[in-house]
Amino acid sequence: MRTPDQPDSAPTGGALAGEEYPAGEGARTPAARLAAYIRGGGIVVPLLTAVLAFLIAGLVMLFTGHDPFGTYKAIFEGTGLQWLFPWVTGDDRTTAALNLQQTLILTTPLILTGLAVAFAFRAGLFNIGGQGQYIVGSVVAVWVGSSFAGMPAFLHVVLAIVAACLAGAAWAGIAGLLKATVGAHEVISTIMLNYIAIWVGVWLFSLGGPLQNDRDPSLPVSNDIVEGAKLPVFWGDPVLQGLHIGIFIALAAVVVFWLILNRSTTGYEVRAVGLNPEAARYSGMSVGRNYVLVMALCGLFAGLAGALDILGWQFRLATNDIQIGLLGFTGIAVALLGRSTASGTVAAAVLFGALLSGTSQRNLDPSIFEPELATNLTYIIQGLVVLLVSADVLVLSLLRRGRGLLLGRRRPVPAQAEETSS
């Protein structure tokens, strides 16, 4: 790649060197920093981040008088991932299969809400509105799914999914439009749109609300979607919440995400705008148009997540679900840990899906860990991941220090980035 003709070019190449000599770093966008970060850390840093998060959470358990090893073992068994081991047989295998189905059911929306954040990241935007977009998608999916009773099944599913996607896209598009036209920061507007989505959603299904169910006026819940609007279950028993085909739709969305980003002119523009909006403008790209487009695509992914949950296993929407749901927010952690890449997002979604299902009260033995504390552990780990990803410099410098020791240097490289950037 480099020739000795340009010796000085070497140190400015990677993120590691860039940190040591941070010339012109100030002009870089978050997406540009992220890009440097992806190159600098590769796959090692996200792994390290996850391990560190588990380690710290383990210490929390230790200090609160619990056995971290026993708990992590129980969580792992709760995820059903041991199904992948061929030596697990008999009843254990049956239980594991059931648990793994739950894990993958949770992974499905996390992949999509992760993509919703990741795509925005690649365009230099922070989409904090995944939760609202997810809710808008679920509301539309439950409405379409519980209406049009006589429709052919396939068409009904497609209609509900498409409508939910478009609704999510339109919802997020508002934030993009506000940014493009009046310069409103997307972090603020997406957070506000979250609240609007949550409370409008609650009102729709609450007592006396326009979309409350027709059977029991005392329940703040929607109508059930009709049989024909349900996604087929391909693994496990449909009655016992087997795995629906939504996971394949989510994985297809990952492929679409990758293709758009890396192979289409749209993605080329999105990445250019994300990495250097000025250069994009100088090349004749419309930065504002790209903002609207990117946010709309993000909303589409999140809306699809809402639709798959409704059509795949929830079948109805209660005001409670809307208020306590966190899948959209977890998408932020997924995208951060997954470094906003296609494969990284899938891997991080599986991790968080497994954590959520492994710590669910149904799976965990109360004698090992109080069930009410178990889910909190997930949020601790999730919070730690976000925190550690934010402290990327720390992880990178720890890594560098470690590498220095491995190479047998006498003294570890001191963390000197602060000095030059102060």
Binding site: P4, D5, P7, P11, Y268, S283, S422
Partner: protein, 509 residues
């Protein structure tokens, strides 16, 4: 009399980055009360050497001696302790803090647990009086000029009692006036016994300020010579390794019909002030028209308007007779306008894109590079490879990130991209800013070649040498108007008078 130890000695410094040898057994010494210039093309190893001195990199081999004593510089903190101060090319200041706060940052004077602001300000004032470093200690960094920010950086080094001061391309961001002021400060510091390393690739400045020059080329020290008796030509030869044409060879120009016609153009700037005020000009095919002027006289807004980045308030911009004013970048570029922007890192390139991606920025929508919205990565890269060869871009292939190239090569990428789409009009805004002589020569030759290919070239430059050596016609811009036209044999003085608003209307138009 004993021989006085050098303030600083670097002996046999070698630094490798993977297979690349950035410094190859480099020797460098510095006496007290001396300005020693470090001269070399972009990528010659100057910054690496100074980063080693400042503790940012560890040398693979070699020794650093301060006052004759071998030392290990493991971090900038240690360098500061040893009395080494560094003024980076990109300032390391906090914009929202005051000059004093920035200077004392990291070694704050304290009274108990509190910051002793008054004591800090007093010492800053004392230092600035002593060396003529005029700054307002209480002004916010973001409110003061670039020159003042640089003075604050120098003060910060002095505040930490630096006796060796390293200045990394300090004049790149300064106006001619500010450069002169800086040189006065440096002379005062030198006379006070401070040892100064002056990194630059501007030959004239090196000859003016330095006592000795060490020339690096491709990581090796070529020679160390006193500036007395050296000439720009001799230094350029050492630096590039061959004879360099400091003047462009240019055949007689044969202009054809007009390519760009601007009539009575009015453009407002970001603050809604009239920046271009009834300006008219014509660029014909096969000629280089230069806009000369002091920075901030409407050049940026004029270029933006012609390139489609800014909608003019009124007036006409036509390319080949087609009106393009306010049409936006895309349609303007479709009409045949190419634009080498002033700042290649901020506007010309996406630094985190590969060279292949950067070279496609103008034409990614063309049928050659994409079909129905899908990119052809293969063709993008093969096109990039042939352009990189044609324009002699070194240090990377189509898959290399633009950020890892040296400045000169980055500029070649910009130039390659803008010429490759075969424009009618090429706007070159400060096309050689921050480039070394070799790269300047390349860009100049290419612009002349494109002129002879029948393109119209609009050169906007603040360097009057560049204007006079490249242009076929020189237009002087002052307060948003063209106030004078010169032929290229105009003198520096004539241009200077017109550029500052004097003598308007007297010159032969």
């Amino acid at each position: 009399m004993p021989v006085e130890a050098h303030a600083l000695e670097l002996r046999g410094i070698t630094k490798r980055f993977g297979p690349v040898v950035a410094n190859d057994r480099v020797d460098f010494d510095l006496k007290r009360g001396e300005v020693h210039a470090l001269l070399g093309e972009n990528g010659a190893g100057k910054s690496t050497l100074m980063s080693i001195l400042y503790g940012l990199y560890r040398p693979d081999e070699g020794e650093i001696r301060v006052d004759g004593e071998p030392v290990a510089v493991g971090s900038p903190a240690q360098a500061i302790e040893l009395g080494i101060g560094m003024v980076h090319q990109h300032f390391m200041l906090v914009p929202v803090m005051t000059v004093t706060e920035n200077i004392v940052l990291g070694s704050e004077p304290r009274r108990g647990a509190l910051l002793d602001v008054r004591e800090g300000a007093r010492r800053v004032r004392e230092l600035s009086d002593r060396y003529g470093l005029a700054v307002d200690p209480d002004a916010l960094i973001e409110d003061v000029t670039v020159g003042s920010q640089q003075r604050a950086e120098i003060l910060r080094a002095l505040y930490r009692e630096a006796r060796v001061l390293v200045l990394d391309e300090p004049t790149a961001v300064l106006t001619a006036q500010e450069t002169e002021e800086l040189f006065q400060v440096l002379r005062a510091l030198r006379d006070d016994g401070v040892a100064i390393v002056f990194i630059s690739h501007k030959l004239g400045e090196v000859l003016e300020i330095a006592d000795r020059v060490t020339v690096l080329r491709r990581g090796r020290r070529i020679d160390t010579v006193p500036t007395e008796g050296a000439t720009e030509q001799s230094l350029a030869r050492l630096m590039v390794g061959r004879e360099v044409l400091l003047r462009v060879e240019k055949p007689e120009f044969k202009p054809a019909g007009p390519v760009l016609e601007v009539e009575d153009l009015h453009v407002r700037d970001d603050r809604d002030l009239e920046a271009v005020d009834g300006l008219s000009l014509t660029v014909r095919a096969g000629e280089i028209v230069a806009i000369a002027g002091v920075d901030g006289n409407g050049q940026q807004e004029l270029v933006d308007a012609i390139a489609g980045l800014r909608t003019p308030e009124s007036g006409r911009i036509a390319v080949d007779g087609r009106e393009v004013g306010g049409a936006g970048v895309r349609r303007t570029s479709d009409a045949g306008v190419a634009h080498i922007p002033e700042d290649r890192q901020l506007r010309g390139l996406v630094l985190d894109f590969t060279l292949g991606e950067n070279l496609a920025l103008r034409e990614y929508r063309s049928p050659q590079l994409s079909k129905r919205g899908w990119l052809s990565i293969g063709r993008m890269n093969s096109r990039a490879r042939s352009l990189l060869t044609e324009y002699d871009v070194r240090g990377g292939d189509a898959a290399t990130l633009a950020s890892s190239l040296s400045g000169g090569n980055q500029q070649k990428v910009c130039v390659a991209r803008e010429i490759a789409f075969n424009p009618r009009l090429l706007i070159a805004h400060q096309p050689t800013r921050g480039l070394d002589v070799g790269a300047i020569e390349f860009v100049h030759r290419r612009l002349v070649a494109e002129r002879d290919n029948g393109r119209g070239i609009l050169l906007v430059s603040l360097e009057s040498d560049e204007v006079r050596s490249l242009a076929d016609r020189i237009l002087v811009i002052y307060e948003g108007k063209i106030v004078a036209e010169f032929s290229p044999d105009a003198t520096e003085e004539e241009l200077g008078v017109a550029m500052t608003g004097g003598g308007a209307g007297q010159t032969a138009v």
